[in-house]
């Protein structure tokens, strides 16, 4: 029982950064912009988040620092890809390369330092319920926030006028523009939202997952978040399933290493990456009839005024 509870808790913790980052990117992509710089925004968010928490002693301030850092990174992307109509794939790669360097620079002074990680909820009575108590009532704030975030994004995309307009920009920017919607401004906001989420997801790692900062600690999670958006067919509900599945793969391979199965640890560590490839192939194949991606995803739009 205790082991099962521990595994569920670990899966939730491993899934949360993926879920937050992927939710942000989903909104960005729904507006028609492909920002491949999630990894770069995340790693800068991790460095700035840790710096904020270490300087002020507050995890909340750290999370804010992460959000601000991610948003500022995404603004560079918006200026390039939307303002100057540069190829989005290349710009996203540049953002990741820049982010890896910046985070090393910012985080260099903090390697080896520790902070008090985010506190977990504790409601007397409820949290002590066996098996489900800690899973439901004993998580840190990020986990609850990530659920609220997905629900909020679902509500925004499918139940509000603004969400409909955002999706219209992603499906056909020429029509949206002709109807008088400010396509580039809407996309800029969507990119900023994606950046804020990526920054927060990055900050989660040193603030809650491990209480210290290591250079390169995102370890490809930004890229896996991008794959999750494809996995979800650009739908928030499926994103939750995907994120928790990937969290489960990550945790299972860690546990399998502990059980001493005769498989070298490196092969187990490669599992999440291999799983990503397999899932991408299976899904893309199943969808051969027609793509569910936003029709204008990744295309350049220059308004003709």
């Amino acid at each position: 029982m205790e082991l099962i509870e521990a595994i569920i808790l670990a899966v939730l913790a491993a899934s949360t950064p993926l879920l937050i980052a992927a939710t942000g990117e989903l909104v960005t992509e729904r507006s028609g912009v492909l920002n491949l710089g999630v990894e770069g925004m995340m790693i800068v968010g991790a460095a700035c988040g840790f710096a904020g928490a270490w300087l002020t002693g507050s995890v909340f301030v750290g999370a804010l620092f992460g959000i601000i850092a991610g948003t500022m990174m995404s603004l560079i992307f918006a200026l390039m890809a939307l303002g100057l109509a540069v190829n989005q794939v290349a710009t996203g790669l540049a953002l990741t390369i820049l982010g890896v360097g910046l985070s090393g620079l910012i985080g260099a002074g903090f390697v080896g330092e520790r902070i008090t990680p985010a506190v977990h909820l504790a409601i007397p009575g409820l949290t002590d319920i066996p098996l489900v108590g800690r899973v439901l009532f004993g998580e840190d704030g990020f986990v609850y926030f990530s659920i609220a975030l997905v629900v909020g994004v679902w509500w925004f995309l499918y139940r509000t006028r603004a969400g409909l307009i955002l999706r219209a920009c992603g499906d056909n920017h020429v029509s949206a523009h002709a109807l008088g919607y400010p396509v580039l401004r809407i996309r800029t906001f969507a990119v900023m939202f994606g950046g804020a989420c990526a920054g927060l997801a990055g900050a989660y790692l040193p603030l809650a997952y491990t209480p210290f900062f290591i250079p390169g600690m995102t370890a490809g999670r930004g890229w896996i978040a991008l794959a999750l958006v494809v996995f979800s067919s650009w739908r928030p509900g499926r994103l939750v399933i995907g994120a928790y599945l990937f969290g489960a793969v990550t945790i299972l391979q860690l546990h399998a290493q502990g059980w001493g199965i005769g498989i070298p640890s490196q092969f187990m560590s490669a599992l999440p990456y291999l799983a990503t490839i397999i899932v991408l192939v299976l899904l893309s194949r199943a969808r051969s009839g027609g793509s569910t991606a936003p029709a204008a995803l990744g295309t350049v739009f220059v308004p003709d005024r």
Binding site: G83, A85, V100, Y273, V281
Partner: protein
């Protein structure tokens, strides 16, 4: 006030030539600001980065050594990008090439194997790199899976595989438990061009690759097809060019070149297989490809320039305690400016003042 882009009637040839230079200039200005923020003397730092490495023979050789893998990988990537196929996993193909070639070196260690060893290593590394690159290419062509994500995921897999080999079966028994293979035998080592120097045969191979790419793109029908498929996919379809076949081809070539670069690095400057053989060559090569305008000669120059930043970064770290990560920041900023300046080739930037236009209309 608003920034507005206006499409040029035709692409500007002048700007196409000077845009990399503008980008480098803007990057240097940004770096001066960054150095000032870090509390370092910007002029001394710039000197350490860009001038000092050019003043002694050892550093000059070292630049050529660093440029060798960058140029070879970037040439392959440029073919992919021209064909609009996004291989960003060259780092993984580099590592797999290094592993495959090292296999022969490790197996023939201490035997009396002859001069065939090094050529066999090069061939096997290129083949392995090509096969590894074909995984994302085939996933793309057959199943429509994003080659960007799959090729990137395979970088992590290759990294872990190499790690497993040098910590497990291939570890040097006399290596004090360090994760490395034994030093390669002389027959498994890339020969030096100057006795006692650093420059090795790999640099010559890189120059041959540049020449071959220039011929492929400029003088052959395949090269023409690659450029048309990327620049005008509809025209290419009408022309009967097979886009999928070109994705496979360009991925295979770029994987082979990355793999070759990998074994040359291991059997050359490094001398044995160990983790961390690449300071991110596969990713820096993306910058080289764009800075070089996806043109073979441009890539050669861009590769030398980025190699200079690697060496300059090391010298600035030793002389002025400037963190090595500054080099990565520099490279990232450079790519941004290159892409932004490239936008000038197709568009004209204009500042528009919407309110004033309305006002002048009423007069």
């Amino acid at each position: 006030m608003q920034l507005v882009l206006e499409k040029r009637a035709e692409r500007s040839g002048t700007i196409a030539l000077v845009s990399p230079l503008i980008a480098i200039g803007l990057t240097v200005v940004t770096m001066v600001i960054l150095f000032a923020i870090l509390g370092k003397n910007p002029l001394l730092a710039l000197h350490a980065y860009f001038i000092a490495p050019l003043t002694d023979g050892y550093s000059l050789q070292e630049i050529a050594v660093k440029a060798t893998p960058l140029v070879m990988i970037a040439i392959g990537l440029s073919l992919c990008y021209l064909a609009n196929a996004w291989n960003i996993g060259a780092e993984g193909q580099f590592l797999i090439g290094a592993v495959a070639g090292s296999w022969i070196a490790v197996k023939t260690q201490g035997t009396d194997a002859g001069a065939w060893v090094l050529p066999a290593m090069l061939v096997l590394a290129a083949a392995a790199g090509a096969l590894y690159a074909l995984i994302p290419a085939i996933c793309k062509v057959k199943f429509g899976a994003s080659e960007i994500l799959t090729s990137l995921m395979l970088v992590y897999v290759a990294d872990l595989f190499l790690d497993y080999l040098v910590r497990g079966p291939w570890r040097d028994p006399n290596g004090f438990n360090f994760p490395t293979t034994a030093e390669f035998d002389p027959v498994a080592t890339v020969p030096l061009l100057i006795e006692g120097g650093r420059l090795h045969l790999g640099s010559i191979i890189a120059l041959l690759v540049v020449a071959a790419a220039a011929i492929l793109l400029g003088r052959t029908i395949k090269g023409f097809e690659i450029r048309v498929v990327g620049a005008a996919p509809r025209a290419a379809r009408f022309g009967g060019f097979n886009a999928n076949q070109l994705i496979i081809l360009t991925f295979a070539i770029s994987g082979a070149l990355a793999g070759l670069a990998g074994i040359i690095e291991v059997a050359g400057p490094v001398g044995h297989l160990q983790p961390g053989i690449s300071p991110g060559y596969g990713f820096t090569a993306i910058i080289v490809a764009f800075l070089g305008r996806l043109n073979p000669l441009g890539i050669l120059i861009a590769g030398l320039f980025l190699a200079l930043t690697f060496i300059g970064g090391e010298q600035a770290q030793i002389a002025m305690k400037i963190p090595l990560d500054v080099t990565k920041v520099f490279q990232g900023i450079l790519l941004f400016y290159v892409l932004a300046c490239d936008s000038l080739i197709l568009y004209r930037f204009k500042l528009s003042f919407p309110n004033r236009q309305v006002a002048s209309g009423t007069h």
